[in-house]
Subunit: 295 residues, 2 copies
């Protein structure tokens, strides 16, 4: 039998991501010996107790982290740094601190000044989710075949990074270690910009329908249906993501707007080659995603 990854793991914020981690650990008890779950919401803690997702379930964050070899913050992006600051004095010497935030630069900049010298901070971003939230929404296979992007600072000990990488591998994820700003640009492109566009186009259609006094939305063909699927996501979560990754997002939005203007000009000019090239490129990318098991 191999040693567990962590003797004690503390999960703060057992929502969709946190409770999925806990479910998988319950299904593979050899990975972590002891599970501590903390949240400030008594309703959430009651559900966690009912679902038997932790060995200790508490609203006392300072006590929760005291004996943890690893503390994982599964809270919204805007709450990561404040909670990290609050628990910092109570962390066990030499513990690993990690999180699961979708944006990195703003979190890292806010958190780093409060970091104790003996604590290794390994930010992690599992690229997985559904439109649901809360402890009841999680499931043990959420991370299977999904990417988990690690963005540790250059001075973080390799041993701590390896531990977190091994942890997410055990969750079923594929691991990539990258620079903080590289991460934010990639996520702005493949996730944040598509969401911004989907939210925006729904509003454009709604305004047009009002102006035309017509039921534009009655006729939503397949194209528009897929956009509204994306647009059904949680407003507060996406507000936080947009505000916390604004530089990278505005930069890729600017690139996209230029490309859309070029396409408009090609249509205006009747430039068939540019139009067909752009469309064909989309098809090629679709194929490469299919080959890559991401679509």
């Amino acid at each position: 039998m191999t040693d567990p990854l962590f003797g004690t793991l503390c999960v703060i914020g057992p929502g969709l991501i946190g409770s999925s981690v806990l479910r998988r650990l319950r299904a593979h008890p050899e990975l972590v010996s002891h599970l501590v779950v903390a949240d400030r919401d008594p309703g959430v803690l009651e559900r966690v107790r009912d679902l038997d997702l932790g060995d200790i379930v508490t609203d006392d964050l300072s006590a929760a982290v005291r004996d943890a070899d690893c503390v994982m913050l599964c809270v919204p992006v805007g709450a990561i740094a404040p909670i990290a600051e609050a628990i910092m004095p109570h962390l066990k010497p030499g513990a690993i601190l990690t999180d699961v935030g979708s944006t990195r630069r703003s979190v890292v900049d806010a958190l780093t000044p409060h970091l104790r010298g003996d604590i290794a901070y390994v930010p992690a971003h599992p690229m997985a989710g559904t439109e649901h939230s809360g402890p009841d929404a999680g499931f043990a296979t959420l991370f299977e075949d999904r990417w988990c992007l690690l963005t540790p600072a250059p001075d973080v000990p390799a041993r701590a990074i390896d531990r977190i990488a091994a942890f997410w591998s055990a969750m079923g994820a594929r691991i990539r270690v990258m620079d903080v700003d590289h991460h934010d640009t990639i996520c702005a492109m493949v996730s944040h910009l598509p969401h911004l566009i989907a939210f925006t186009i729904c509003g454009t259609a709604d305004t047009l329908a009002e102006d035309m006094r017509s039921e534009v939305l009655d006729f939503a063909a397949s194209g528009f249906r897929d956009f509204t699927r994306i647009a059904a996501s949680d407003p507060t979560m996406w507000r936080d993501i947009f505000l916390n990754n604004s530089d990278a997002l505005l930069s890729v939005l600017d690139r996209f707007s230029q490309d859309a203007s070029a396409m408009a000009q090609a249509i205006r000019d009747g430039d068939e080659k540019t139009i067909v090239d752009t469309i064909s490129r989309g098809r090629r990318i679709r194929r490469s995603l299919l080959e890559n098991r991401q679509a």
Copy 2:
């Protein structure tokens, strides 16, 4: 037993749409007594014969239309007017001419000068399709619960419009009669603009990946996956649609670009209210589509 809708129907262009119509007519033989199928491609005609989709299958368009009470052009948008002009002298007196094009203004403008006084032209646009094409791609239930938009000129006899409406009702579709330009604006918004954006964003991601020397596409999260699904469509078909509906498309693209700029400004300003309002609007539209059986 009720009278058939048409004694003889001639379908020109038995691709995805045309062969779906023919399959449904084979399943409901009381609707049309006699089916003539014409195409200029011998390979297509061979498949139509193998699939037994017509009583007469021919590459002679003039002969095909001679006895038809209704001629339905199921060819790409750019081919409708030229084929209509070619068959016009051969149409049976008093026949109904119809089509299934996705854009209307350019087709109507090109076709109308060639129209004989005794021929009623009732353009129809069944809003249905898949990413596949050809006679083997069709299926009898393709149009069920989908909209079919009719855009007849004001002087077309009500009897001819009623016939085509009854025909598409028998195909399982929901019918709406509307003005040509109204149609083109609605379709630009709910179908052509989403496709233009999906094609464009795939190109933006590809360029960014080259610039960053990174595998941006490895990390396509759910947002981007849905965009690439749209972008997998046929380049020639979409080139024709973009060029034939350029005015309406460029107009809604302009509205969308302004809305996207406003969203960018809200993010730059940290204007949480505008951001949350825009996102919430998308959720509301998603809900109304679900209630409307379109998503």
